[in-house]
Subunit: 232 residues, 2 copies
Amino acid sequence: MRHQDLEEMRAIPFFQNVDPGQVEAMLRGAFLQRFPAHVELIHTGEPADFLHIIVEGTVELFSGHRDRETTLGLSGPGETFILAAVLFDRPYLQSARALVASRILMVPADAVRSAFMADAGFARSVAANLAEAYRGVVKELKNQKLRSGLERLANWLLTHDAANGSRGRFDLPFDKKVLAARLGMAPEVLSRSFAALGAYHVVVQGPSVLLRDVDALRKLAQPCATIDGTSL
Amino acid sequence: MRHQDLEEMRAIPFFQNVDPGQVEAMLRGAFLQRFPAHVELIHTGEPADFLHIIVEGTVELFSGHRDRETTLGLSGPGETFILAAVLFDRPYLQSARALVASRILMVPADAVRSAFMADAGFARSVAANLAEAYRGVVKELKNQKLRSGLERLANWLLTHDAANGSRGRFDLPFDKKVLAARLGMAPEVLSRSFAALGAYHVVVQGPSVLLRDVDALRKLAQPCATIDGTSL
DNA sequence: CGCGAAGTTGATTGCTTTCAAAGGGTGTGG
DNA sequence: CCACACCCTTTGAAAGCAATCAACTTCGCG
């Protein structure tokens, strides 16, 4: 790894408040890898050899069973996956693929476990990361079980708009196909849902989205602090 | 708390490999409370004042939104909830109610946070607990999104039978209403699903379940290590 | 013996998926 | 530069799984 890269890696939030010696030890055996779009990074059921940390890009977490497949979440820069499996040497529960060309820091699992055992600061950092991840999945489970597809879309639009300056206007950050998967619906349903949101003055043209009546949309969506989170 | 109770509390797995001084500090401010059935222990959205540890009984984790309600999981003796919220002083994402009369150890949140900051062993114990909880929710999300109601029931039956000696015969540990909620379906649907499993030689009479053809059931259920877990 | 909750069964509705087909944009190779 | 292929997206039609509403039965318990 280049010196400049190393410095960038040390700045990752996950490594803050961790004994620098332990960070060095983890980075020593790590790879900073570039992956092209669509490449599968890890596969459900395999042993957890590396902790992955997204430096740049977007990753889709998904899993299949029989002939079905479902998207479990999207992750962006600064986020890790899949820490829980790496920590206790368990098989991955999810697969991951790069949605766009991405840079991923791959830290050997045993280096992570060593640091976890040796350094209290890192153990706390790990716990914080796991706590956030846990809360994220719980929110997603509630989102899925308590809302209709239309409501999930409405809330995603509001959350995404808020995260982008509340201008009531933005471009979708990825294909509608991906958004549909993120929201847990078939692409056809997303298309129909966008059409249905016309009644709430949501105007969609290609990737551009215009929210002309945020209040009406909010009334439909009923956003909720214990469901709507910070994930993509 | 009585001396005998204190000893029982110290034996909780969650407290193993933790500095005894920190355990004492946490237990000092803790309550060992008895709750009758149906009582709500914590409520979604409220601040996390206590870490709850189930000593005896069964607790249902659930949450509501608008006029809907969904069960997110069931927990039994030895399990904690909701650690993630307590650790970082965030609002509960889930509500909890006792399904049967239960004994719950309630540890003040600030005592937990103090121990977490002071003791590396406890920090690791917390991380382990969160990792298991995280994996549990991911499994549940996959169970919900990748399987039909009938498949969820079939797998629950197989898992529960295996956890009880694989005798192909057991009694339901709680009302069918609760099982339906656990599996994410309306009680009527559970009833119909049981009827449908007659074709696989599943015989149900009241609370008693008889699996007369485990192979056929397994073929339908297609159990999977990355979905089927250890939860109730 | 009767009340009430739990469970079953039937009928209906609705959300979502699936299958099918067509339009639209982009990139490549001729 | 155009033709074509391919994928994304949309729209239409049909089918399915599950929720809801309603009525009836069963069981436990006072």
